[in-house]
C-alpha cells in the first residue's frame, strides 16, 4: 500500500451508492467507517456495458466467499477477469445472495418504500444511462453468509470494525457501482445503516506484480465473434424469419467403442462400478468411470474453470 497515490475519496451515506469510473490499474477501496456495514457491488466494462461482473461465474471459480487473491469475472461468453481482490482485511464476502430488492421489503416486511440494493444500484448507475433492468447480481462485501444443512442460503451478523476494507484492483476500465446495503431490518449489517468510505488509488508496481496471470482463451469471446453483435433496442421479442440454428458441434453423433475386459478386469470393474446409478447398464457405468478417472488425473482447476495460468 506504501506510495499509492490517492485519486479520489468519497463517503457513501446510508441509502446511497455511487457509480465510479475505475480505470485499469486503479484500486477501489471500500472501507468501513463505523463497522458492521454490508456493501453491495457491481461493475460493467466501461466501454461495453453488456460485459458485466457475473457472480455465478465468480462463485464457480472461487467459491461462495471470494477474498484476497481471487478475481471478479464477467459473464459468458466474455469470461474475463475484471477485478482482482488485492486485499481484504476481513475475508468474509458473499456471492450467494442476489441484491435485496423492494419486493423483499414489501412482501416480507410490509414496506411501501424501503432502501434496497437493487433500487440504490439502479439509481447510482442511472448517471450513466443504465436502466433498472441493467442491475445484475451483486458481490456483497462484508456480508456473512453460508448454506445450511437443507441447502438454503442464510445470512448472519458481521464482525467488521472501523477501518476494515477490501481493495479491488481494476484489470480493465470498469464502471464500478458500490452501494451501502439498504437492509436495516435483517442481520446483514447488524440492524443499522452506516456510511462506507470509498477511496480510489493508482496501483503501484508492487500492487500490479501481485496479480496472477489469467489465461486468454479462444472461448473468451467479444461482440466481434458474435453471430449477432447488434444490441437489441426495442422491447418486444419477434422471431427472425431468416434464423437458421448453428449450434456448435451438432449433430451429436454417438459411436460404439468396444473394450475387452479380462476376468480380472471385469472383477475390478464390478467392484467399483456405480450400479446404484446405472443398474445393469455396464456401458454407461464404464463411461462414467472413464471420465471420472480423467477428471481425477487431468483436471487441475476446480469445477473445470481455470482462473490462474498454470506454468
Amino acid at each position: 500500500m506504501t506510495g499509492r497515490q490517492i485519486i479520489s475519496e468519497l463517503v457513501m451515506e446510508p441509502g446511497t451508492g455511487k457509480a465510479i469510473e475505475l480505470l485499469k490499474g486503479q484500486i477501489l477501496r471500500i472501507e468501513q467507517v463505523e463497522g458492521g456495514q454490508c456493501a453491495d457491488f457491481n461493475c460493467f466494462n466501461l466501454h461495453d456495458y453488456k460485459e458485466f461482473m457475473h457472480c455465478g461465474r465468480t462463485r464457480t471459480v472461487h467459491g461462495f466467499h471470494p477474498t484476497t487473491g481471487t478475481f471478479m469475472w464477467s459473464a459468458p461468453p466474455r469470461e474475463r477477469a475484471m477485478l482482482y481482490i488485492l486485499e481484504d482485511t476481513v475475508g468474509r464476502n458473499d456471492v450467494l445472495f442476489p441484491r435485496c430488492s423492494a419486493y423483499v421489503y414489501e412482501a416480507a416486511y410490509g414496506f411501501a418504500v424501503h432502501t434496497n440494493c437493487h433500487d440504490i444500484q439502479a439509481e447510482a448507475q442511472r448517471e450513466y444511462g443504465l436502466t433498472p433492468d441493467d442491475v445484475h447480481d451483486s458481490f456483497n462485501l462484508f456480508m456473512c453468509t453460508g448454506v445450511d444443512d437443507d441447502g438454503h442460503a442464510f445470512m448472519t451478523r458481521q464482525t467488521t470494525k472501523p477501518g476494515d476494507y477490501v481493495d479491488l484492483l481494476a484489470l480493465m476500465d470498469v464502471l464500478a457501482v458500490p452501494n451501502v446495503c439498504g437492509a436495516d431490518v435483517m442481520k446483514t449489517s447488524n440492524f443499522a445503516l452506516k456510511p462506507l468510505k470509498l477511496t480510489v488509488f493508482a496501483a503501484t508496481d508492487t500492487d500490479l506484480a501481485q496479480v496472477p496471470k489469467t489465461p486468454m482463451l479462444a472461448s473468451q469471446r467479444t461482440p466481434k465473434d458474435f453471430r449477432n453483435p447488434t444490441i437489441k433496442t426495442d422491447r418486444p421479442l419477434r422471431r427472425d424469419p431468416a434464423y437458421k440454428p448453428e449450434f456448435p458441434n451438432t449433430p451429436i453423433v454417438v459411436t460404439d467403442l468396444a473394450v475387452s475386459l479380462s476376468p480380472e478386469e471385469l472383477a475390478m470393474f464390478n467392484a467399483v462400478k456405480r450400479s446404484d446409478i446405472y443398474g445393469e447398464d455396464d456401458a454407461a457405468a464404464l463411461r462414467d468411470l472413464l471420465f471420472s478417472w480423467w477428471e481425477e488425473r487431468f483436471l487441475q482447476a476446480h469445477a473445470g474453470a481455470p482462473s490462474i495460468e498454470s506454468t
Partner: protein, 58 residues
C-alpha cells in the same frame, strides 16, 4: 476364461478428449485408455477404502 466385451457409447466430443489424451502418450489406443482408467480408478478406490479403514481403526 473368456473376455467380456463392453461397448461404450461415446459422442464425438468425448472421443476428441480421449484422442487428445492418447496423443499425449498416456495410452496407445482408445480401448487401452479405458482399461488404464479402470486399473487406476480401481486402485484409487482401493487406496481410499484402505485409508478409511485405517482411520476408523484408530
Amino acid at each position: 476364461m473368456a473376455e467380456t466385451v463392453v461397448k461404450l457409447r461415446l459422442n464425438q466430443q468425448q472421443l476428441e478428449l480421449i484422442d487428445r489424451t492418447i496423443a499425449q502418450g498416456v495410452a496407445p489406443d482408445r480401448a487401452a485408455l479405458v482399461r488404464l482408467a479402470l486399473h487406476e480408478y480401481a486402485a484409487a478406490r482401493k487406496a481410499e477404502a484402505h485409508k478409511s479403514g485405517m482411520e476408523q481403526a484408530q
